[in-house]
Subunit: 149 residues, 2 copies
Amino acid sequence: MGDERDVGPAVRRRLIYQLKHSLLRLEELHAAHLEGSGVTARELGALLLLADREPESQQQAALRLGVDRTSMVALLDGLEAKAFVVRRPDPADRRRNVVELTDAGRATLDVATRASDEAERELLADLDPPDAALLRELLGRLVIGSGGG
Amino acid sequence: MGDERDVGPAVRRRLIYQLKHSLLRLEELHAAHLEGSGVTARELGALLLLADREPESQQQAALRLGVDRTSMVALLDGLEAKAFVVRRPDPADRRRNVVELTDAGRATLDVATRASDEAERELLADLDPPDAALLRELLGRLVIGSGGG
DNA sequence: CTAGATCGTCAGCGCTACTGATGATTAGCG
DNA sequence: CGCTAATCATCAGTAGCGCTGACGATCTAG
């Protein structure tokens, strides 16, 4: 889809257009660079989340990732089938599942993170390094600010 | 969905996470502010595109909008049912449809554009005006740069 | 021990992207 | 002019993802 989206200024200036198409392009770049890594961008997000902090429950993890709780089931099914994570019932509360990264999961996370770095770099290739850093910082502030509801 | 996405830095620093969640939030804001305007954010995009420049064909318009060509059919069906656009066969090439805004479409576009402005303002509320302008400018450059394929 | 809440899971709906087909139309080429 | 290939809008079918509502298992409150 990385085509001639020559849309005129009234569309191009819309923030929603800019965000949507930047994301679309970044997703394409991720798909390209993650090919062969064994995970999708979505799964990479889950691995990152688990590495960052073990969540209390699948639903907590889903909430944090912005993934639907019912989609989290299939997402973890896939990661578990590839032996990147393990689901065990929480001994303290056996309704819950404790999800843990395996060694293979950690290794894949390393590879996939580097691929993601490269995808980001390509997306930002048209910006000077200082501008790229600035964009990251501004977006970061946006995301943090939105957490407060 | 504007909840406690307390995801640890390794996730929060990912550009794909920042873009996805900014977009998600902006889409929620659009849904809220466009309620009662008669169009969705998706339809607003189509109206903007048509106002900006009459496209040579539906497929060109779809390509520009980043919408699938087959989804464009339903999108225009909806807009036509609401009498915001008119589809006529192109006299010069009767395979094509010329899509035109109606007066009602233009009026709705005005209202919806203002609602979108407000949604954008809310998204950027955590940034100083100069920072907000900077973010817009950087994203704009990103989108233009990606056009080159 | 009972009633209500929570967790993971599943089934079903809606929206969208994508592929592939169809009929109508146009363009290329002799 | 006729014939073939390409293009356009449309439709059917598939797949992914968010969302709702349900279920059994489990925990908590009383």
